[in-house]
Subunit: 369 residues, 2 copies
């Protein structure tokens, strides 16, 4: 994976950043029909500075300055963008949260915090989240090894200018012990509608847990898995190598993909018409709605994404439905509309965005079937 | 109303007949946004021939021959088409039933029965239904007086060559006493979605009954009024003039229209967005479905028809949704597909017809909004 495949270069400012679709949702990565994205996160802290929650504000300001300097001289962060949370409005910070660039914790702008964003949003570093540095790589589809290589190189680059807290016994030291060691959290966002519909999902989730990985619904827990999206990630960071974690995630995700594929085949064999009908009616609702909730977008997008992945002709590119998940979130809507909105107004505005995106895709394709 | 406003002329044969859309569903009649059609039916019997259910087959054959002869020399039935039920397959007869040209009773082809169809399907005579003649006029929208004029003229025409059973005391004699007198049943097919949604419909139906008219759901009784379509008709035929019946139906229908208009205004005022959303999602489902039941077509068509009548821009002409009600019925589908179909196959074939019609309308309009 090249760090900037789109060739767009890093965004010049916040406005340019958020006017773009998140490139890691392009749907063109390996297994893009089932795996939306791969994420690598590395937790790092600086020696001789207390962990974020115990440090004083001037110490945190020092961390921001040091990381920014290190990034400037790092090839991985060539032409990167530094955003300080304190310079941003709550709405702008929420936009970054919705883009998965910034955690909820960092989105709270009360302390000296920031993010360095490089390479088309695929590489970034949150500064003074739970750890001093949280290096993050996002990639479309299933590519943990490739994303890991990018993260590893960026980590090495930054490490040239920073003194990481590291113990020979433990590895990288982190604010929360569950991250100590590699400081690595590798995760994939998978779409498993057929396993959910056929009620095989519980068994699958259980078996993923049994091999030591963690799995949870992206938009909800227990049996209400909105949009059938699941995040699978490694649990262990101590006493393992990064390579172990990456390979285990890759292996288990491929196994999940196989099971979802089998479930989709079964659905196509047993209920092809009902499936096509459900997909196309979902598309029809998105294409023509005049008011729509976030939840409905997530749910209808899920069936349409499945239809696209199954190769039903005439639907839009998978990128379009993936992007809807971000572009229709409240802060994105509010920023696009330029003002505060009630929930009812948001639903109407959201419907407008959804219709517009699908219409544009139809025009690009010269028409839906 | 001119008897043949479309200028198409009468169909030459059954195939040509059923390849056309029923012209009385054109939606371009007065109050076409709420009143689909007006129907006039006159029951007549011949002197010196027993009523249909008591006559012998050769007597009924005589009736068919006499009516056909009378029609041939009647200006109202210029170039008309005579179809004998015994010459037609059960499927063909069912097609006529679905087009509202023929009653279920006449559709049963076991006795000498027929229909003379003139003037673009708007004027016809069923022969040997419950009465020897059932003259029928169909017109788009609310126009009972105009339809009555056409029926009256045709009745006079036919009467020249036929000896009607008539008593000075009673009027026209009919097989069932409830039709004796004028032999007239005048009815309108009204679409009352707002009154149903706002739950005012029970009160309206009650008040219609109280003024001596009859009202019933077209596709279902009690509270399950599929498609929100209602048939309002006169009840009394004895001791009243035709003019009385026609005027009373016209007056009461106008009153119902006013109530539906007020209910629609109220809905637009209180829930415009929800209404628009419901209309357009209904459209989206029809536009993209891959399998759809008759009931769903009737229900989705109902909301779309309301949207068109409310003037929401970008929807198809009302004619298109009206015609779907006929074209998606089982016998029409079976005839169009050219073979027997299971229910599941019909649902798929029906979805194809629905999509095709809406796509064609979009092409005609240069695009839906």
């Amino acid at each position: 994976m090249s760090p900037d495949p789109g060739g767009l270069g890093p965004p010049r400012d916040f406005g340019e950043l958020v006017s773009r679709a998140s490139p890691w949702l392009s749907g063109d990565g390996p297994h893009g029909g089932m795996v939306l994205s791969t994420r690598i996160r590395l937790a790092r802290n600086l020696n001789n500075v207390p962990f974020t929650h115990r440090a004083r504000d001037e110490q945190l300001q020092g961390v921001v300055a040091n990381v920014a300097t290190a990034a400037r001289s790092s090839p991985s962060f060539d032409h990167s963008l530094l955003l300080q949370m304190s310079d941003m409005s709550p709405l702008e910070r929420q936009v970054l949260v919705e883009r998965h660039l910034v955690s909820h914790e960092l989105g709270d702008g009360t302390r000296p915090r920031g993010i360095v964003i490089a390479s088309d949003e695929r590489l970034s570093v949150m500064i003074n989240e739970e750890d001093h540095l949280r290096l993050q790589v996002m990639a479309p589809g299933l590519q943990p090894s490739e994303a890991w290589s990018v993260a590893d190189a960026a980590d090495d680059d930054l490490g040239q200018g920073l003194d990481y807290a590291f113990s020979d016994d433990i590895g990288y030291l982190t604010s929360c012990p569950t991250n100590a060691g590699t400081g690595l959290r590798a995760s994939v966002l998978v779409h498993l509608p057929a396993l959910v519909i056929l009620k095989d999902i519980h068994q699958v989730l259980k078996s993923v847990m049994q091999v030591g990985l963690n799995v949870r619904g992206l938009y909800g827990e227990h049996s209400d898995w909105m949009g059938n999206l699941f995040q699978v990630s490694n649990q262990t960071t101590l006493g393992v190598t990064e390579r172990d974690s990456i390979e285990s995630l890759d292996r288990v995700t491929r196994r999940i993909i196989e099971m979802e594929e089998k479930a989709r085949d079964r659905m196509l064999r047993d209920a092809r018409v009902q499936l096509e009908d459900k997909v196309w009616r979902g598309y029809g609702e998105l294409r023509y709605c005049r008011s729509i909730t976030s939840r409905e977008v997530i749910e209808r997008s899920s069936v349409v994404r499945m239809g696209i992945a199954l190769g039903l002709p005439g639907l839009c590119p998978i990128r379009v439905v993936n992007e809807l998940l971000i572009l229709t979130q409240p802060a994105h809507l509010q920023r696009a509309s330029g003002g505060e909105m009630t929930q009812a107004e948001r639903n109407v505005y959201r419907a407008g965005i959804v219709r517009e995106r699908l219409e544009a895709a139809e025009r690009d394709a010269g028409h839906a079937a």
